[in-house]
């Protein structure tokens, strides 16, 4: 009898968890967005956008990504890494600042979590290829 109560309580708890609405998924947590933007963006003291984009491509190849798309006018590159998992990245190279290049990277691994430290590792790898 107790076992049935336990099972019912577990089911009730599960039912209480509400599914995210499409609106919540599109806009997500605003505070987290600001935090994520800071983690995802890194500035480099270079002024050549194409050179920076080429360095991003070299870095992605070094890290076993295969490029999916690239647009030199928009400064956009997307790539995928397959290593038992499926890791997607999109990179935007922004040259609106006169003396530096802003690089913003975004990772997605399906429903799996990508740790914030991944961005630091990626930018450290990119830095190595930018000074090469």
């Amino acid at each position: 009898m107790m076992r049935w109560f336990g099972a019912l309580a577990a089911l009730a708890l599960l039912a209480a968890c509400t599914q995210l609405t499409p609106h919540e998924i599109v806009f997500e947590d605003a505070a987290r967005q600001q935090q994520l933007r800071t983690i995802q963006t890194h500035s480099f003291a270079v002024t050549d956008r194409i050179k920076t984009m080429r360095a991003v491509i070299v870095t992605l190849q070094d890290l076993d990504f295969v490029i999916d798309q690239a647009d030199s006018r928009l400064g956009f590159i997307s790539a995928t890494k397959l290593n038992g998992y499926h890791l997607d990245i999109s990179v935007l190279v922004d040259d609106t600042s006169p003396d530096q290049m802003l690089v913003r990277a975004g990772f997605a691994a399906g429903l799996q979590q990508v740790e914030d430290a991944s961005y630091q590792e990626f930018f450290a790898s990119l830095q190595k290829n930018l000074v090469r």
Binding site: V58, V66, A70, N83, E115, S118
Partner: protein, 178 residues
């Protein structure tokens, strides 16, 4: 009772399998010594400064190999191609069918594979003149139920050597290692 035991064992097995599934870790985004070895394996330098010519010859080689060009960006020296081929291994199909018959379920086996290639040309910084070409390959194997069964980067030296031999022929130039 026995059936319930089997179900519990199955659930534990699935949970263990899920725990073993690889997931991205920050260290995967660090350039290591192995990354540099791979770079050397995947790169050749051709003695021409005409990057557009190298890209055109490369796209011809990709098409000769049956790849469809998915993306090209001349200013970045980029070509991306892919091809879908059969992944059916008759021995696997027979084995999985027998297993499915015993378990009274549908057989699951490798059916298709998507090969992807990414080729990047760069004005060489190693040599005084020249264009470096780097290629990387990926493969996704799909099961007959549509699920992905293998996600991998191909790293056998033979693939790169054969590819660069074909590119050398197309360019009438010898490719030098890094």
């Amino acid at each position: 009772m026995r059936r319930r035991g089997l179900t519990v064992c199955g659930m534990i097995g699935l949970a263990a399998l899920a725990a073993c599934m690889p997931k991205p870790v920050p260290e995967d985004l660090r350039i290591t010594y192995e990354s540099l070895v791979s770079r050397q394996q995947q790169t050749r330098i051709f003695e021409t400064e005409d990057e557009a010519r190298v890209l055109a010859a490369s796209s011809a080689v990709l098409q000769d190999l049956g790849f469809l060009i998915d993306e090209s960006e001349q200013q970045l020296g980029l070509l991306v191609g892919s091809k879908m081929r059969s992944a059916i291994n008759p021995a696997e199909v027979v084995f999985m069918t027998l297993l499915a018959l015993m378990a009274r379920s549908d057989p699951v086996y490798s059916e298709r594979q998507l090969m992807r290639i990414c080729l990047v040309t760069t004005p060489s910084v190693q040599a005084s003149s020249g264009t470096s070409v780097r290629v990387t390959f990926q493969r996704i194997v799909y099961l007959n139920n549509g699920r992905e069964s293998r996600l991998e980067t191909l790293g056998t030296p033979g693939i790169y050597e054969e590819f660069f031999a074909k590119l050398s022929k197309a360019l009438f130039l010898e490719g030098k290692e890094l």
